[in-house]
């Protein structure tokens, strides 16, 4: 684990891409194949199953540290991260371990079968022979949610550097439904003729956000415009009469979308389509939240399928007649895609229509109407471009609509984490319902450090009541809250739930009486919900 922990430290200490790739590449050239494979797996979100829940881990860590449970919880609140809290609070290790990453992954996996007492004994064994950083890494592997600050793309680049293989070839080989238990480093990465794997998708091409006016892209007739749909980016693969559905997180999600199952009898062998898994009913898209309700479910009941059906909005054609078409210019790919969708018609397969425009100005008007189409904005794609992999600047741009906003009054504040544990940084906001204030959203970030300190002082001086880390405050401060969407919600008192709420600015110019009302919020729900 020492080498992997050292890698983690190196990655954690820099924000520079070049340095990260450098560190990873030299790590790959040093460790054995099994450790390489597990590192690739972890960096591509293939984690071992979590064998213990947080309550158990917390209790064992507190016990081993000789700290009462409440004090552990208080510390956890300050640190804000369970794996880190445990790493910091445990006593110095009594021995060392020379075992590598794979051993410890095996160790974690071995716990799945164990009873509680055995699990506890194993955790204590691990904690007492790992150093603070090793423990942190181990805890992260154990509890999941491990971010190493390295995208799959950077990892692929580093791997290319250490193996001498082409980056795109590697990106392709890394995709698919493998785990370190079902393959080896040699088979997955080094084998020149990898086993036929029909399910293997192409790497997605991702768009950059357009910061300047679209005029900066040059001649408008070089560009294709379409709506930016608010679903999950996906890839449909038909090979040898089988269907594979991939989501952008590179997960195989075929079983989650029975609506698509008819594609395998409709579309011919060797067809791969890039598009959006979009909740859609009665001729129009549904809010993203509708899709979310079915993502987490193990069993898709009839009721759910009726309430939140999906279609596939096709953007692009990546393979046709079993040949890679990504080198074709977009214009050609789109034309072929349109004719395929038409010829092999299915209720669940629709093309993402082009937005026709004859000037950037005209497109601007269309862009402002995005919400009428239940879309997030406009996508711009260069007509003569090939289909690239990953996020590369230049050919694809997303031009998002301005967020919705509402002016609201702060009524609760909560303490932050870590260095900010003494500062009130997270707030709850309310709008007027007659002379009552109804809370409707939490929001944080978006304020400058100076403003956070100012709000913090206000909170401390104007506390009405305390509930643990939360304080209710005299309603006085007004903030403009920006959000991407609004939906009906039965779980919230206000009856609405916002998508990506954040503080846009502090409205020092507005007295609290002039904040928006629940009626304003509901009218936004009527228009956009």
């Amino acid at each position: 684990m020492k080498r992997f922990a050292a890698l983690f430290t190196q990655l954690d200490q820099t924000t520079k891409t070049l340095v990260k790739v450098e560190s990873l590449a030299s790590y790959f050239s040093e460790v054995d194949d099994q450790d390489k494979l597990w590192t690739i797996a972890i960096l591509s979100h293939r984690r071992p199953k979590r064998p213990v829940n947080s309550t158990m881990i917390k209790q064992w860590a507190a016990e081993l540290s000789g700290v009462p449970f409440w004090l552990f919880e208080e510390s956890y609140h300050v640190v804000g991260d369970l794996a880190e809290t445990i790493a910091l609070i445990l006593p110095e290790p009594s021995s060392q371990s020379e075992e590598g990453l794979s051993y410890w992954i095996w160790f974690i996996k071995s716990m799945t079968q164990d009873g509680e007492e055995e699990k506890k004994a194993k955790m204590k064994q691990a904690w007492s022979c790992l150093s603070a950083v090793e423990r942190f890494v181990f805890n992260k592997l154990l509890t999941g949610g491990f971010r190493m600050g390295v995208s799959q793309k950077l990892m692929t680049r580093a791997l290319a550097k250490s193996t001498g293989l082409d980056e795109n070839v590697l990106a392709h080989r890394l995709m698919g439904n493998w785990t370190p238990d079902t393959t080896t480093f040699a088979d997955l990465i080094l084998s020149e003729d990898p086993k036929e794997d029909d399910s293997r998708p192409y790497p997605f091409y991702l768009a950059y956000a357009l910061e300047d006016a679209p005029g900066s892209l040059g001649n408008h007739s070089d560009w294709l415009a379409e709506r930016k749909w608010d679903g999950i980016r996906g890839q449909i693969i038909i090979r040898n009469d089988e269907l594979y559905v991939w989501s952008r997180g590179e997960e195989l999600v075929t079983d989650k979308y029975p609506e698509y199952h008819e594609f395998k009898s409709i579309l011919p062998h060797g067809t791969v389509i890039d598009g959006e898994i979009l909740p859609f009913k009665e001729g129009k898209p549904l809010p993203f939240a509708q899709l979310q309700t079915r993502i987490g479910r193990k069993n898709l009941t009839k009721g759910i399928l009726e309430k939140s059906p999906v279609i596939f909005k096709a953007y692009d054609l990546l393979e046709w007649e079993a040949k890679d078409t990504r080198e074709w210019p977009l214009k050609k790919r789109r034309e072929r895609l349109a004719s395929i969708v038409k010829e092999f018609s299915s209720e669940s397969l629709k093309i993402s229509d082009e937005v026709v425009f004859s000037s950037w100005h005209e497109l601007g008007i269309e862009q402002e109407r995005s919400r009428e189409y239940y879309s997030e904005g406009i996508m711009l794609k260069r007509l003569d471009s090939t289909y690239r992999s990953g996020r590369k600047k230049g050919d694809w741009w997303k031009w998002k609509v301005e967020p919705l906003t509402i002016d609201a009054v702060m009524i609760y504040a909560m303490r932050g984490h870590g260095r900010r544990a003494n500062l009130y940084t997270d707030y709850t906001f309310a709008v007027w319902d007659g002379d009552q204030l109804v809370p409707f959203t939490k929001a944080y970030s978006g304020l400058t450090d100076a403003e956070i300190h100012e709000v913090d002082r206000y909170v401390k001086k104007n506390t009405i009541e305390r509930f643990g880390p939360v304080r209710s405050v005299t309603p006085e401060l007004v903030f403009e809250i920006a959000f991407e969407g609004i939906n009906k919600s039965t779980r919230h008192k206000s009856g609405v739930a916002l998508r990506f709420p954040r503080i846009k600015r502090w409205r020092k110019d507005k007295p609290k009486e002039e904040a928006n009302t629940i009626a304003d919020l509901l009218s936004l729900l009527d228009i956009y919900g």
């Binding site: 954690d12 200490q13 820099t14 540290s65 700290v67 009462p68 409440w70 004090l71 208080e74 510390s75 300050v78 640190v79 804000g80 991260d81 880190e84 809290t85 910091l88 609070i89 984490h417 870590g418 260095r419 900010r420 003494n422 500062l423 300190h453 913090d456 002082r457 401390k460 001086k461």
Partner: protein, 339 residues
């Protein structure tokens, strides 16, 4: 009670004297020169001779009397003496004794010897008023020799890459502790003006600091390459540091113990180095002084006092409405510079 907690600070009615008061008073005992302990506007100040020059420099013309460590001053029957707190040069715990009852006010303190500061001395007392800046079990410092090994290695690496090393620490205390423990065989030590001003004061009081060079506009940029610049925390992200490019920047502070804090500081390296006691240090100090009653101030007061009570040490929070609210605000503003 020998000491009371008022809205101006800790007060001894028998001697009519305050300790580190935050509002103007007639007579003030000052533990040390940091801004949250020595404030402007009191009529009379008493502090250690070693702490005085910096306090004079910071506050200008004040009516200040000094004392040696251990010297006893009797005011209306109260015996007052100052004892090393190990926090920064001249910093003191203040002992007050009246009719056999002994109270000690810790001020800020640390137990580890740092090579510069007078070593912390444990004072037996009936009542101990302790700080609790790092009063959580997640704060445990490694011996400074290890931390400085890390710092010196980082400096060497940067030098090999032909970069300037910039390390930040607050100007009074941390900066000098860093300077004193750097391996100056690696290169030259440059200092930010605010730090060099303090260095000059300390040298005048015969403290042997390693050689440092004040950063000035006249020094050609190339001179800094491979050397180290000690700067104040406010330098991070300022235009002042641009001239040292290419550089690697680090921060030395107790808060660097947390990953989130390291990342938010947007420095390349965070070194865990504090002039305050860690969790073990606080607990050791309390055990050693054998106090029957402890009051906790300045930090994680409620958590730390609850912990002490569970351990069988009777503990309370230094609680006035003023302290309760404003100390928290102090935490979020002044601590930035000081810890």
């Amino acid at each position: 009670m020998l000491l009371e907690f008022t809205d101006r600070g800790i007060y001894c009615p028998q001697a009519a004297i305050f300790i580190d008061p935050w509002k103007p008073v007639d007579k003030a005992l000052i533990t040390h020169g940091h801004a949250d302990h020595s404030r402007w506007g009191h009529k009379h100040y008493l502090c250690t001779a070693a702490a005085a020059p910096v306090i004079k420099y910071r506050l200008g013309k004040v009516n200040l009397q000094t004392t040696g460590f251990g010297e006893i001053h009797t005011i209306n029957g109260v015996k007052i003496s100052f004892h090393p707190a190990g926090h920064i040069v001249g910093s003191a715990q203040i002992r007050l004794e009246y009719k056999g009852e002994v109270w000690v006010v810790s001020g800020d303190y640390k137990l580890e010897e740092d090579g510069l500061t007078e070593t912390f001395e444990s004072i037996k007392c009936h009542t101990f008023i302790t700080e609790s800046t790092f009063g959580l079990p997640i704060y445990e410092w490694r011996p400074q020799i290890e931390v400085f090994q890390e710092i010196n290695n980082w400096w060497r690496q940067n030098q090999a890459l032909r970069k300037t090393t910039i390390l930040t620490g607050y100007a009074l205390g941390k900066a000098q502790r860093i300077i004193q423990n750097l391996d100056d065989s690696i290169g030259k030590i440059y200092t930010h003006g605010a730090i060099e001003n303090v260095n000059e004061i300390l040298r005048q009081q015969n403290i042997l600091l390693k050689d440092t060079i004040r950063v000035t506009a006249e020094i050609p940029k190339e001179e800094y390459i491979g050397n180290i610049v000690i700067a104040t925390p406010s330098a991070v992200g300022s235009s002042w540091i641009k001239k040292f490019s290419p550089y690697s920047i680090g921060s030395a502070s107790g808060w660097m113990n947390l990953r989130g804090a390291r990342r938010r500081r947007s420095v390349d390296r965070g070194f865990v180095l504090s002039d305050h006691a860690d969790w073990k240090g606080l607990n050791t100090a309390i055990d050693l002084c054998e106090a029957e009653q402890v009051y906790v101030t300045h930090g994680y007061t409620s958590i730390f006092s609850k912990w002490l009570n569970e351990r069988g040490v009777s503990a309370g929070i230094v609680e006035t409405q003023f302290e309760g609210e404003l100390a928290e605000i102090g935490e979020s503003t002044e601590k930035e510079e000081e810890v």
